[in-house]
Structures are given as structure tokens and as C-alpha cells.
Point group: D2
Chain length 422, copies 4
């Protein structure tokens, strides 16, 4: 995914602190991994952890250091081929489905690469970067945070492939959570509302321009759909009734043999699920996750509701603080909604599928140059998700943030909140 | 594709006349075909002509006659399996990719089936159908007209597979057309506009409810993009520059080896194209057709413009008469724009790709029952096309009509009109 | 498949009679087919009946008439592209998996093509063909007989695709057959034996050179394995025990979901099978057919026996008359073994899988030129079958005849006879 | 591959020495590898080095220790699932194409597993194993040596996937080799000869029973085909002439885009090849290697010769000492033939493709039980190779040794020697 900041941090020391914090977070995420864990690619859509750690570093080296730090010495010339993702303007690269063939350099060398680039960025910071360079550094931080989440979801996918179901972090008891209670629907008036990013803070290009949109009155569920509710759908034959499914969704579940969410499996008659803390019994009160768009949509149809549009979501979320169960807590799984009034779980826990295809906002234009390759080029065949997840860094998410995935993607922390017409 | 009428014709004799005309049109479309031509399926997305002729008849038999004509005798019990398309509520059916295995019944028997059902519909008409039955008959007429267009595009695809490139209709000289002149852009104010179907005439369910939409000011090209203009894009290396393409589009053209529109081929250094009148030299003044969404979008990017949204198109078309180069003319190919002021070629010639994914309008609900299976289930992974083509029956198209296809579909008469922000 | 005769018929009138008889047989085989039946290709390995009728004619036109009949006028230039099979030396051709796209010329035109070529061959015969031309005509007759059998097996495959299970010939009662009795094993001494073709009659190149082979003592079952015996294997869990199967066979049955022979299906708890006389209840006394090599081999392992080698079969068959249930009888299905002493059913009924890979005999050399393209090029990945089937023309088969198919092929009339070491 | 010894070593101390030596060889082969190198699976046909090191150990644990060493404690219960290869009788296992997903246990733990099993085998040796247990240990040694060769060829394949083309062992200069001189053909009389294993030494089950075979007189090239000779074939358009290829071979080279041997690639107009010592310029005097059967056969056709049968090869090799360029030398690449009279390079350097399909010898019966799963089950679709390679352990190869691979396999050290009829 790519991205463009509209405004930069003006305070270099704040930028330097942010850079260091983001980079340290990545290092910490890589720490529990062996060289082998960090090398294997478990499917074409996933990347090795080593690749994430190197690619984010390559971004700083290529976009920031090479053009802007006089005397910078490239760490290893071959890395430009190995760790470019999809920037066509920058040249040839290792084909995406073959990223897992790169057993060398080893993980240790990648950490050395990171240190080399970090030192050079510090030098650049000391010299005082021009505003457009500062902007690129901030962009690189957000880019790296995106990859932090992918590193976690890709590792979860890899570990699920093993019959040993290894835990990325120590298993820990779930604790006792209060029942989140019956879902309530909260009404919104609609009308002409403002949507999208504007102003000083960072945002990716696809979050703007800010513009007006017209909403009919609607209602949103006050919390996410739970595992218990989704299990009722499964047990009611939800995966065997074609009338509940989009045509493409029905084709997918038949073709792939899906009968329940990704990572669910039975052990001695009980339902379990794979998590970053190893295989665990299913927590019926926690939000359901690892759903495709097809499954989220079919559940909503079964429930007599629908998915919200991304504008309905943003309009409802705009007045709420960005708080929730994010990656920083270390929990790394969704948790049951705490009791409370009003909208709950709007941020964190699981990305919420919306019924909105990922399309350009009015007057959207991609940024020029390599960094403008480019959310725009993915504006086909994807649906928007909102709100962040338990694997998202807290200071990465925003009200206007638009995540997107194809409708059959299931390896992200993706769930749903119900909506209906008022 | 399915569909629901909101209001019915109240005048039974008008309905009977319409029924007869539509049925006769299908018969005439099948007349140039041999039994073999009408049987073969050239790809999973296409259906045999025989299947189109039988399926549309099965629709009347199943939806209209069996429940509503006392004493109706089914023509052949096995046809319910053979000629059901995708109505899950009605039962098992021949798998879509195996429709071409049905060598028996022969084309003659299908014509006999048509006559049997037509006679029964006449009986029903004489008895005076209830309003909801009359509605179903009208729906069946529109359904059959959809299949008339598909019959033509599927036959074109089949005949293109043969090295002999047979002509569906006699080849005829192109005649001399005036140069359509430089494209001009016409401005529209936008604002809050009304979109979608309402009122007495027939429409499919997905065309409503009529609702308000907010448009920014925009400009539309006064005519379609021509073969000559598209050839310039090809010759400029358009198919070799990844920066012009959506990511999924670039993957598609590489994977499929596309280097020009479907049906274009070279003969002795000159560009030709396959048509319903056999292989013909490319008419540079005629609208380009048989483009995928990917190609239409890449061309627009190359031209520094964009595709219109479906709302922009509908708002601009709303005040124009529904006139153009339709199937009834028998030309069966797009023709160059005639000189003139204002928007030209908005209807007929080629379906115009819009940048709008096929999504539900606010408060959209599919109709209950089998006939409500259902545009709604295709609302994923498809883009809307507007305006009809040279293979569309004239009285089938409307300002609010929403056609839709996946972004890699090329065998329809699909082209584009450019747009830009004002 | 290709082929070379070593010796020619010297008597032209006998050759002419043979030519006419073979050509008439093909015509009669095509007679029950509609244009659509004759056009559709049901899988890449099968060809349309029209193609068989045209290709065999093209062989005479291309190999015999064009080089040898002064003044011969080609029927249609485009046929050289359409009806060449795989002769690389002769030029480009319609890709094999796309043979079913050729809806034109129609079946009637193919019959006209046949008549045109037949008339020219008569002219050539009257003028007295040179010996090498007479040889080519005889080769063409054998070539056409091979395609007669394929036409039948391909039509059976096509008709099985239809839910209507149409009959190629009128269904007829099976009649009452005596139980073929318990299988007996007949011993053979082995030693040094002569294998392969030699002498005046026609044979394909791969049947020679005649050479010595060394056989250990062995025993052959006196009759073919029956449907009843094979059903016992199925019911004993034969398709669920990996230890009975070749590794590639186990992969195939899992991948394809095979659980019984091709064309077997259940109706109301009874086992039926598709035949050229429509779907019929399984005749437990008749030889099992439409087995892959994998299934024949697994059955033999289950039975504690093995398949014979092709040399064991030929050595045993050498002294027997070439008599059996061939295509000429019109039965077109295998029939139960008649009571009797000694080897029964060695010819006709079903081709017998041997454990011999299709390999060259010592000193084998393919013939030069187009007609030598060439059994030799298929000597990889195929197993030899012997003895002919109920779809083989009687005067086409010989003791030395080597048929061959890949081990997963099931649409031929292929079954087995058990063998064991003495 | 599986295997059965017919006779055991009677001297326990010799067996113990052999066991230790084989196990040490494996350890040394794994030493240059990182955890990541040893974990990744580069294609479904290859296995990770870690898997080879563990699976061979699992064989001793499962077949020898568990049933025969009282009190043996299994190292880790999960390994039975992880490291079973294909023994259906022993239970479920990690699917072969997913062996590369096993990032844990790490390589260090696999070495600990090896030490644990080695200690237990020592204990068993001290207690004096029964003769059948000693036989199993010897079988396990040969089994492990097979995997040593696969470990090398699989690592070569993996390292070739990386754009860095890492060297498994230090690159070293080729040295200067004398031109091997023009090939000479050496005649053999044929007649009735004895083929296959018999007597005291170890052999796999498929090498027997020893039996008589009848050979026509033939001639064998005195040395292997060289890179220089094969390059002449490439440059003569060998990969573009369908008449040189088996039908399946032509389909393969077109489908895969093969235009030269595996691992060959151009650098600045010069031909290089990937080796276990990294990418190296092609040595024109060394034997060509990494050929498929299809390529070996096409070369022989182009040269006007043929491949030998496995019996021709064995008959010629029977009187020669088993000497050559094996894995123990550490060279790990084929080397040019040294000057000399008579047959050269019959053992070592490259496996020699024969034209013999891998079929059972007369009276062959697989061994009972798990260890008899079983060369027999691969007797379909494979061709025999003879003589061993530069990656084969010297004391693993025999005159009667039958290696086998499918005709499109190229990642082994496989080349050819020409033959012809006398």
C-alpha cells in the first residue's frame, strides 16, 4: 500500500522521536521470531517477516537517503532487487510469490541493515531535513506501521500452517469478560456530511479530498458481531443456503470448501481458533474475526440487516475519541465489548467491513512520482474496512483511514458491525 | 440477470403485441444459425444460442404458465434441468460451463418449444391475466431482450474462434462516414440531483429506489472514443506502461497477453477486427469497442482524463431522447458519430464503462421470490455500464438502465466516453 | 496415431473394395448423429465426430491425392488447417482443444467432402496406383478404422455429459447370458518366443521388427474380469485403500474423486452404466470396462494377481483365431464370456491393459516423412493394451496390434485379464 | 524411495561403523546451512534440508528403535506427523507440498533429535541387534544416503531461486581439464545375459530378482555427452524442431518455455550455469547435466543415436570397478572425462537416462509391511537412470542400482550417454 502525506511534521525532534519509536516497534515485533520463522512465505498474499523488516527499511534508504543524504553508502546493492515491493518506476524486483525463496540475507543481517539505515537517518535529522524530506520520513513511518500489522497477520497465517500451532506470544488465560449484552441500534440523521481528510495531520492520498456526501437516515449497531452470534449463523446452516450469499461469495465458499471462519477448528467437539497466542478455545463474547467480505455480508443478510457504508461509519465515528484495543496493548486478539452506552468498539479489535467498494473520492488525484504508486492503482475489486484492529498501532489509525482488501481475504483481523436503514 | 418490474402494462392487447414482437425478434436472431452454431459454447461466460432461445422460453413456462394457466402441459420435463440459469429456489440445473454439451434437443425442437409456449401465452392473454401475471410477462419480455443481446455477443465470440471467421450476417461495405471531428467537453453543474427509476414504466429492481445524489461540477466528452484514438494509445506503448493501469488490470494484460482490444488482429500489416459481419478492416472513425474496464480506464489515464461515474452519465443523459444505433437497425456494429452539437452517441453504439462499481442504491431491497434472484447478488466485483449498444433492442434501454460486467469482460460491445472534473 | 504399412495389397480391385467398405462404415457410423452431435467436443482428449469424418478424408486428400493424382482439385483450401491432426511437417492446424469450435462446415458439407475425395480415389484406382501409393491407401484405411473406434468412444463420452443420457443406437434388452463361471488360469511355458509383426500383411510401424523375447513361465486367466467381480472390489473398499494403488494412481483417484469405473452411476440404489445404447443397468456377467490402468492394476493387486505383459499376451494369443465381439456386430457393448475351454475373449469386448509401457522394440525405427509422425513419438507415459474391443472393426485388429493410452485414460473400452507367475 | 535389503551385515561392529559414518556425512552436509536455508521448500518436488535430516532420523526411530529398543523414549511425539514421508501404514503426515511451512523445530533442534536417536542406536548396537534389526539399520543407512543426494539437489534448486545465486560450498576454480576427445562407440555382443541383484550385499527390492534377459548386439559411447556437444544441439535449433521430440516432451518444452538445460543462463553473452559452488561459466568439456529425459532423448535423436536400455547399461558396466566422481570428493559438479581407453564415466558425474521405463523385473514382489512401501508403487510414468552422480555417496551405488524419475524432472544431476544398434 502506498500513500502520501499532505502536511509534514514541522518539529524535527518530534519527527526523530516518532521515527525511533516506530522503528523500535518493528524490531520488537521481530524479536520472537527465528531466522526460519522470518523467512518462510505461507501464501502468495503474505510476505515473510524478514521481508517486511527489510522492505520498510529499503523505503527509507531509497526514497529518503539516496536522494537526500550526501555521501550515503548503500548497505547492499542487491537489496534494491530483493526488497522493492511494486514500485514500477524503481525497477525490477523479486516476484511477490517468490519472496519466501530469499533465505539469505539472514534475519541478523536484516537487523544490521536496519541499524545502518537508522544511523543514516539520524545523521540526516541532525543536518535538518528539508520539509519535503521530513514529509517523506513521516510517510515512511506510516508505511512501516502498515507493515507492522501485516507482519503480525502474516505470521499468524504461517503459524497456522504448522500442525504444532506455535504461539507468537505466550499463551495467556482469556480472563473473565462480562457478557457484552444484546446489541442495540443507534440512529443517525444523515443529510449532507463532510467526509475525508483535511488539515495538518498526516493522511494517505486516498483519504481525501475532503468532500460533501449525502446520507439517508440510518442506524448502526452499538458493538461488533460476536463469535457467539456468528456461531449461531453457522449452526443455522448459513454456509449451506445460497440465497444468503453474493453470487461470487457462494462460488468462493463452494470452491474453497469454507464452512466457518478462517482459523476455526474443532477439538474434541469444541470450537477452537488459532491466535497469535496459539490455538485457543473460542471466546463466544469476543468479536468474530478473520471473516471475508462474503461472510460478513451473508451474516448481515441472515440477520435481516446490512453492512454500513464507509460514509455512514465515518460520520458516526467522527465525534468519538480514537481509543480501543490496539497492537500496543500486546493482547493481539479482539476482546469482548465492555459495558457502556453509545457506540462501542468503533476503533481497534477488528477492522469493520463496509459495503463500500474502494473508489476514488471526487477530485482525487494520485501524487506524482514513485510514492504515488499508489492507493489509486488498487481501486478495483476491493472493499473498504474501517476502524483498525488489535494488530494496528494506535497512532496509525484515524477516523478517515481507509483500509481495503478483496472480498475473499480472510487473514486480516476483519469482522463486522451491523447497520440498517432508519 | 434478473429483474423486477414495478408497474405493469394495463392494456393486455398492448402487452400481447409486445410479447409477440419480442418473441419474433428472438426467432429472427436464431434464423441464420445452424444446429451446430446454436449448440456450441465457446467459453464458460458465454452460452449457446440454443440455450438463450430455450431459457427465455423456460422463464415464461416456469414463472408464468405453470402457476397461472390452468391445464398447461409442460413441453418436456427435462427442460427444467437443462434451461434453468441460476435460480437456486427452482432447483438443480445443468452447470453453466457445461451448457454446450447439450446437443439434444436440436434447434428445431427448441423452436417447437417456443411455439408451444407462445400458444399457451396467447391462451392466457385471451383469458385476461391478473395484473401481477401481466407484470411477469412484461418482465419476461425484458429478460428475453437481455438474452437477445447476449445471443449476439456470444455468437460473435464463437465465430471468432473459427479460423474461417464466419459472418453472422452478410458482410457489407462500411460506407463513407464523415470524420466525427475533435472531441469537445461539455460542462455540467452538479449539485443535488435525482437518480434512479420511479413511476409507471418497467425497470429492473436495481434501478431504484430513486434517490438524491450530490455531484461536483464535471465535464463529459461529446462523443465516444474512436478506434483511431485508441490505436494511438496502442501505438504509444499504452499496453507496456504499468503506470497507466490499475494493478489488477496490469496483472490481467500480462497474464492474458493482451496487447490490443479483443477481436483486433493484423492482416498484411493492416489492423482488422472481427464483427457480426465477419472480419473487417478497422474503421478508425467508429467507436472503439470490446474493451475491458481495465483498458477503458488505462486509456482515460493516458489521455489525462477519467471515466465518468454512473450518476454523472445519468444526469447528463436524462434530458436526451433515447435514440441511437441499436440492434433493430441491423447494422450490428458501432458507427461513427454524426456531426452535431451537444452530447452525441449517448445511447446505442457501445455500452459506456463508468467508474462506478455496481452497488445498491440507498434503501434498495431485492424482490421476494425466484424473480428476485436477482441483480443484488451480483453486487460485487462488477462495474456499471450505461447507454446500450448496437446489439441492444431499442425499447429495452432506459436512462436509468444499469448494465454491469466484471472489469476483465471484453466480449460485450463495451467502449468509453471521457470525463473530467470541471 | 500413425502407422506404416510394410507390404501393400497388390490386387487393386481388392484394395478398392476394402477402401469402399471402410469408407461406408464411417458414413454409417455418422448417420445417427445430428449436426450438433457431430460438432461438440466434450473434452480435450476427445474429438468431434465431424472432425473424425473430415480428418480421415483429409488424410487421403493430403497424403494420397495431392501428390499422386494429376489434376486433383482440393475441395476446400481451409480444410488443411482445420483437419490436420498433429503432422508438424504439414503445417499449422486448429489447436486440438479447440476442435469443437468449428461449427462450420456443417456435417452435410463433410459428407460432401467425403464424396468428393472418394470419387477422386476411384479415379486414381482406375488409373492403377503405384505400389507405394497403394500402400498409402491401405494405410489410410487402417488409419480411418482407428478413428472409427475413437468416433464411437468420443460420442459415448459426449452423450454421457448430457443429463438426458441419449442413446447412440436404440436401447435393446441385454438378453439372458449364461454365467461365465469361475475364472481358470491357463499355464504357458515361456522361454524364447518370437514377438511382433513380420511378413506380407499390413501393420503399423511400432509392431515391428519381429524379434525374440525371453519369457518366464506364466499363467493367464481364461476370461476377462467381470462387472460383478469388479463390484466386489469396489464394495470391499478398494478405492479407499492406498496400499492397493500405484502412487500416481492414488493421487489420481483422490484428485478426481473416482470411486468406481467411468460411466457407472446409481439409480434408486441400483448400479447403472452409460453405454452406446443409453444408460443401462449394470450387467454383472459382462466384462468390466472403462477402467484406467490405475484401476486395472489396483484390482489385480487386490486379487493377489498381476496384469500380463504385452509379450505374455501376444504369445498366448498367437495361436488363436481373431474372433470376438467387434464393432461389426452392432452390439457396441462387451458381452459375457460364452462357456468354453481354453482362453476366451482374447479378441474383442474390451481392450486389455498390460503392464508393459509403450516402448520401442529392438531396432525399431520410425518411417521417414509425414506418415512416420508416428507411433514413436508417443513412446513415453503410455501403457499397451491388446486385443481390440466391441468398438474395433474386426479386420483392423491383429495379434501383434499394440494400442496405447496414458494410465489415467478411461473413456476407451478398456478392461483387464488377470495373470500370475507360474 | 523405499527399499529392502535381502541380506544383512553380520558383523555388528562393521554395521555400527557404517551407521556412524553415514550419520556424520549427513551432519556435515547440513553444516553450511542456516536455519532459513534448511527450512524453505523451493518446489513441491523438493524437500527442506531440515526435513531430510529429520526424516532419515525418524526412519530409525520408527522402524528400528520403537519396536526393538526396550525403554526407548520418543524424542517428540509430534515428529511422527511432521517427518513421515509417505508411509500410509504409519499414519497421517504433513502434506508434501507443505513441508516448507515447518519453521519449528529449528535446525538446532533437529541436530539434537539426531543425537538423541544416534545414542539410542548405539545402545541397541551394544545390546546386539537381532539379524532382522541389523538389516533394518543397514536399510536405514542406504535410505539416508538417498536423502543425502536429494538434500544436495534440493539445496541447489533453492539457491538457484535467489537472485544472489549463493554458493553451497566456496566457489573454486575449475582447473584446466584436457579435452575429453571425440566420442568412440564400443560394441557389445548381447545375447542372454544376467540382470539384477543377487547374493549377500545390500540392494533395494526393485533390483531383483536376478533374471535372464535377451539383448541384441549394441554399441555404447565411451563417455558422457558434454556441455559443448549439447550447446551445439541448442545452437542448431534443437529446441525449435518438433520432429526431434517425444510428443509429451514437445508439449513440456512449449508449456514451460524451456530453451536450454536447467540452470543455464546467459551473462554478458556468455553461458553460465548454477552449481553447488555458485553460478559458474559453463565448462564445455564437462558432462551436460540437469537434463530431463525429454531433452536427453531429443539430443540422441538429433545425434542420430538413441539412449541405451538399462539392461544394455548394466551388462556393459558389470565388469567395471565402481569408481568415479562421487559426493565424497567434495567437488559436487561433474568433471570432464579423463583420457583413456574403454568405457569412461560409467559411475559418478551424472546419472545416465536410459530408455527403460521403471518396471518390475520378472517375479518381483514388494516386501511386506511399511518398509515395502515401496519402489513398486512408483512403477508408472518414470524412467530408469543408472550409474550415480557427483552427489551420490560412493558406497551407495551399485551396478544393479536403479534410480528413477519422471521424464520432466531436471533438478537431479542427470545427463546421458549415447547408444546405437550394432
Amino acid at each position: 500500500m502506498a500513500h502520501v502525506s499532505r502536511k509534514s511534521l514541522t518539529d524535527v525532534s518530534a519527527l526523530a522521536a516518532r521515527y525511533r519509536a516506530v522503528r523500535e516497534d518493528s524490531r520488537a515485533l521481530g524479536a520472537p521470531l527465528s531466522d526460519a520463522d522470518a523467512t518462510v512465505q505461507s501464501m502468495p498474499d503474505a510476505s515473510p517477516a524478514k521481508w517486511h523488516l527489510a522492505h520498510t527499511t529499503w523505503f527509507f534508504e531509497t526514497m529518503v537517503l539516496k536522494p537526500n543524504l550526501a555521501g550515503y553508502e548503500v548497505f547492499d546493492d542487491s537489496y534494491n532487487y530483493l526488497f522493492n515491493s511494486y514500485y514500477e518506476t524503481i525497477g525490477e524486483r523479486q516476484p511477490r510469490p517468490r519472496r519466501g525463496m530469499i533465505t539469505r540475507p539472514a534475519l541478523d543481517e536484516i537487523f544490521a541493515y536496519r541499524a545502518h539505515v537508522d544511523a543514516a537517518i539520524e545523521t540526516l535529522m541532525e543536518r535538518g531535513p528539508a520539509p519535503d524530506v521530513a514529509e517523506l520520513i513521516e510517510l515512511g513511518c506510516h508505511h512501516e506501521q502498515q507493515h507492522q500489522e501485516l507482519l503480525l497477520t502474516d505470521i499468524l497465517h504461517l503459524f497456522d500452517q504448522s500442525p504444532l500451532k506455535p504461539a507468537y506470544r505466550d499463551p495467556q488465560p482469556l480472563g473473565v469478560a462480562a457478557d457484552p449484552g444484546e446489541v442495540r441500534f443507534i440512529g443517525f440523521d444523515g443529510g449532507i456530511v463532510e467526509i475525508g481528510h483535511e488539515g495538518d495531520g498526516f493522511a494517505f492520498d486516498c483519504e481525501g479530498p475532503r468532500h460533501r456526501a449525502l446520507l439517508e437516515p440510518y442506524r448502526l449497531a452499538d458493538r461488533l458481531v460476536t463469535n457467539g452470534e456468528y456461531l449461531a449463523f453457522v449452526e443455522d446452516g448459513g454456509y449451506r443456503d445460497p440465497l444468503l450469499w453474493l453470487s461470487a461469495g457462494w462460488g468462493t465458499i463452494l470452491g474453497e470448501g469454507w464452512t466457518r471462519p478462517f482459523y476455526w477448528h474443532e477439538r474434541d467437539g469444541e470450537m477452537w481458533t488459532m491466535t497469535l497466542r496459539g490455538a485457543q478455545p473460542l471466546d463466544l463474547n469476543a468479536p468474530v474475526t478473520h471473516l471475508s467480505y462474503f461472510e460478513a455480508d451473508a451474516f448481515a443478510t441472515w440477520a435481516g440487516k446490512r453492512l454500513p457504508t464507509e460514509f455512514e461509519w465515518e460520520n458516526a465515528a467522527a465525534s468519538l475519541p480514537v481509543e480501543g484495543n490496539f497492537a500496543g496493548s500486546g493482547r493481539l486478539r479482539p476482546k469482548p465489548a465492555a459495558p457502556g452506552e453509545g457506540l462501542r468498539q468503533m476503533y481497534g479489535d477488528v477492522w469493520e467491513w463496509t459495503r463500500s467498494p474502494f473508489s476514488p473520492y471526487p477530485r482525487f488525484k494520485p501524487v506524482e512520482g514513485a510514492v504515488g504508486e499508489y492507493n489509486g492503482k488498487f481501486m478495483c475489486g476491493q472493499f473498504v474496512l474501517r476502524g483498525g484492529s488489535c494488530a494496528t498501532p494506535e497512532n496509525h489509525i484515524r477516523t478517515t483511514y481507509r483500509n481495503f482488501f478483496p472480498p475473499d481475504a480472510r487473514w486480516q483481523f476483519s469482522g463486522l458491525r451491523l447497520a440498517e436503514d432508519a
